[in-house]
Amino acid sequence: MPMPEWLRIRRGKHADQRDAALWSKCPVCGEVLYRRDLAANLFVCTKCGHHFRMSAYDRISMLIDGDFTEIGTEVATGDPLGWVDKKTYPVKIAADREKSGINEGVVCGVGSIDGFDVALAVMDFHFRGGTMGTVVGERITMLLEEARKRKLPCVIFTASGGARMEEGMFALMQMAKTTAAVARFMNDGNFFVTVLTDPTTGGVSASFAFESDVIVAEPKAMIGFAGRRVIEQTIRQKLPDEFQTAEFLLEKGAIDMVVTRAELKPTLVRLLEYAAGGRRAS
């Protein structure tokens, strides 16, 4: 997957750093995979089909045709509670930025997927476990407002461990804020698709992830409100492996479809085509 120029610029030095890691080990089958092969295979294990977690920019470049106009880059992480534990919250954030190569838990913007203009948000588990703080909530809200203004369909990729503790109630309030934006967006008759990737839990799961017209999930993605450990502690027994997987939720009627990463882009394009009345925007 060649990296487009805009992406290379946006990632800066981190792009090089990340590419420097030459191989990855599959956490499911143990296969050692060359990173270049893995990327070429959309970060799906060539041996067992395990879907690796992807960075937001890798997702975006996998989907978006050409240019991608980011929204909300000016919104930066605050420290509303003045949080300190072993480190201050700003120090943690700085470390995560360095490590993950992105500046917050979601990347939002407008671009086109196979000719269909779309508002796209992609959460990134590598940044503080994809937790939703005010930046995530604010950027997604800005994206939904922009999509509403321009009558664009909106696609959100979720990946989240839940609300971000260090922002306390401000984090929880992002569930309310994003939902209010979703409701306005949908009330105007716009199309909303969410793609739940591993893992999608807590406050993200219990807000915009499950408010969309069509809920797609990646194979074996862990999806739920309560975390697996919390449930196991509560009921004092082990849960079966398939509990809270995408496939489990499909059977339980909670999601619309489980789609492999290879099929994901064509599926999204078809969904966008249905909602666009069968016509490409351009």
């Binding site: 260090e166 109630m169 309310a176 219990a206 807000s207 009921i235």
Partner: protein, 327 residues
Amino acid sequence: MTNPIVERERGLVELERRIAELRDVNVDQPVDMSPEIAALEQKYEEILREVFGNLSPWMKVHMARHPNRPTALDYIDAFERFDELHGDRHFRDDPAIVGGFGLLCGRPVIAIGEQRGRDTKENLRRNFGMPSPEGYRKVRRLAHLAARLRVPIITFVDTKGADPGISSEEHAQSEAIAMCLYEFSQARVPIVATVVGEGGSGGALALAIADHVIMLEHSTYSVASPEGCAAILWSDASKAEEAAARLKLTAQDLQGFGIVDEIVPEPLGGAHRDREAVIARVLGSIDAAVSRLAAMPPDRLLEERYRKYRRLGSWESGQQESDGSHA
């Protein structure tokens, strides 16, 4: 786990008993012991202030969880009238959620609350006030009914959080909570939410998107329980006290943040020490808020509700925006 507030109250019981005895005895005695009694009573007041006068966040967590603290139904039953409606129309009636039509200060409302048990047996039946998806679907149904009939929605929040059980996950707890948020964010009627006890996480927020949010003086409202937060951040639930302090979960903190609109004071020692007064005060605050909101055209009501949540947590370059420049 013992509740330290209850522990402290036990320590006071002996003193209370002695004062009462002295008062009884005094009537029949030739020597007047009133000065001694007055001194003891003053002492007792001092101790009360000492013990309850300046509760730490962690103590407030326990006050919010106090077994005798008035629950949702204690407030709802104080309405002029209440007719409970049941069920999600699909699967089950969840006793952790109570809701129905009520008459408050002569005005019909839909009242909905998270209901803990007031004893062990009721707690088991009501799942300790932790709602299942069926409960949240009942909430959504009633909120929708209120909006259809143009009747205000009054909620009482009091939960450790949504039920974290197997069947709750199987029945799409996430969807159930999300659709409550969705319904509340759109309902074209005034919504007043009161956090009367513990407001825990998304399970509390599901009933708390409101035009006016009230908290009792010693109730708490947080993104996660202190125990949960400590487990998540430090893999050590015993650091809950520290988490309670860091989370800024008190009514006073949240009013400062603009997340809570009004605080209703409690008597020294907590709401359960003068239930009737507290309940009357809460209902008075709710009625005042509803009266104000009911006068607003629905479009403006919705617009202000949107702006209120739109504003929360809009920072640019680490600076809080006070007026939501992105709105």
